[in-house]
Every structure is written in structure tokens, then in C-alpha cells.
């Protein structure tokens, strides 16, 4: 039961991160479409931003894993 609740929590964390990364990706696409010549810089910035958001999601996943762990 604890595992399931932790998994729901992880799912929620991932939901937020998914929305965040989606926005980052979408905005980056927009920006690249507007300024294709700056695509390199935009990509780097996008990856950094996405990585930072993903970090938060992974915290959630780790908490979920802890809940799944039979030893915990």
C-alpha cells in the first residue's frame, strides 16, 4: 500500500515535470522556427532547462522507488 501511494506521488511529480519539459521543448521549437540560425544556442539552453526540470522529476521517481523497495 505504501508502495502504491509513493508511486502515485512519483506519478504526480512526473506529471509536473512532463508539463514543464513539454513547455520548454515547445518554446524551443517556436524559437528555432523563428530564428533557425540560433538553433545551436537554443538547443543548449533547452537541454539545460529540461535537465533541471527532469532533475525534479527524478527526485519524485527516487521517492517512488523507495516506496517500491520491499526492504524499506
Amino acid at each position: 500500500m505504501v508502495g502504491s501511494i509513493a508511486a502515485i506521488g512519483a506519478g504526480l511529480a512526473v506529471l509536473g515535470a512532463g508539463l514543464g519539459i513539454g513547455r520548454v521543448g515547445g518554446s524551443a521549437m517556436d524559437a528555432i522556427a523563428r530564428q533557425p540560425e540560433a538553433s545551436g544556442k537554443i538547443q543548449t539552453a533547452m537541454i539545460i532547462a529540461a535537465a533541471l526540470i527532469e532533475g525534479v522529476a527524478l527526485f519524485g521517481v527516487v521517492v517512488g522507488l523507495l516506496g517500491l523497495n520491499p526492504a524499506a
Binding site: V62, L65, L66, N69, A71, A72
Partner: protein, 164 residues
């Protein structure tokens, strides 16, 4: 919880492996590799620069050649011009000299002709005088051959003087 609990033994081995790796790679791999890559990039950059420079030099050389050519052409033109001038001058001079000579000769000829003419006229005059005197002598002899005639003449001469 074991999943996120660091393990001292593994930490030790990780540290050992990573630091050894860092040391060995920095000393024996990254240094020569990066050195070679940098050297090559520098070489390429230098070669490109050299090519650019050579191109510039070529351009400069070409411009110089062009200039030289232009100068040569100008020189040739001027030389031709000079030669033409000299030639025309020589012709001119020759013409002038010829004219003067011709004139001189003409003058000389004219003078000769004049003097010949004068000589001839003088001779003619002398001859004419001699002829006239001869004729006059003959006439006078004839006139004075008789007394009548001498008298008639004297009269006539007196008449002429009177009339004057």
C-alpha cells in the same frame, strides 16, 4: 533505502579507480591527444593564413606586373613617339638644308646668268659702238668727199645751232 544509501567500501573503490584514471589519462592520454589536436588545428589555421597571405601577395604581384607592363607600354610609346619626332625632325632638317642648298645654287645660277648677261650686253654695246663708229666713219667719209657736201653740212650744222 539501500538503493540510496552510499556504501563506504564502494566509495573507496570508486575514488581509487576514478583518481587513478584521472591521473593516468591526464598525464599519458589527454595531454598528448589534446596537444596533437591543438597542434594540428594550429597547423591548419597557419596553412589557411599562409594561403590567404600568398593570395594577397599574388594579387600584389599581379598588380605590380600590371604596373610594370603599363610602364613598359608607356615607355615604348614614348620611345616610338621620340623616334618619330627625331625622324620627322631629320626629314624636316634635310628638307630645310636641301631647300637652302637649292636656293643657293639657284642664286648662284641666277648671279652667273646675270653676270653673263651683263658681260654679253657690255660686249654687245662695245661691238655696237665699234659698228656705229665704223658706219659713222664711212658716212662722214662719203659726206666729206666733195666740197659741196662739206659746205652743205656746215650749213646744216649752223642752222641747227641757230635754231637752238
Amino acid at each position: 533505502m539501500e538503493l540510496v544509501t552510499p556504501d563506504l567500501g564502494l566509495l573507496f573503490w570508486t575514488g581509487l579507480v576514478f583518481l587513478c584514471l584521472l591521473f593516468l589519462l591526464v598525464k599519458f592520454a589527454w595531454k598528448p591527444i589534446l596537444g596533437a589536436v591543438n597542434a594540428r588545428e594550429e597547423n591548419i589555421a597557419n596553412a589557411l593564413e599562409l594561403a590567404e597571405k600568398t593570395k594577397e601577395e599574388m594579387k600584389a604581384l599581379q598588380a605590380q606586373n600590371e604596373n610594370l607592363l603599363k610602364e613598359a607600354r608607356a615607355e615604348r610609346d614614348s620611345m616610338i613617339k621620340d623616334a618619330k619626332e627625331v625622324a620627322s625632325k631629320m626629314i624636316e632638317d634635310a628638307k630645310g638644308t636641301a631647300k637652302v642648298e637649292a636656293e643657293k645654287q639657284m642664286t648662284a645660277a641666277r648671279e652667273a646668268i646675270q653676270s653673263e648677261k651683263a658681260g654679253a650686253i657690255a660686249e654687245l654695246k662695245t661691238q655696237m659702238a665699234a659698228f656705229s663708229i665704223e658706219i659713222a666713219e664711212k658716212i662722214v667719209r662719203q659726206e666729206l668727199s666733195s666740197d659741196d657736201k662739206q659746205k652743205a653740212l656746215a650749213d646744216k650744222l649752223v642752222e641747227d645751232i641757230n635754231m637752238n
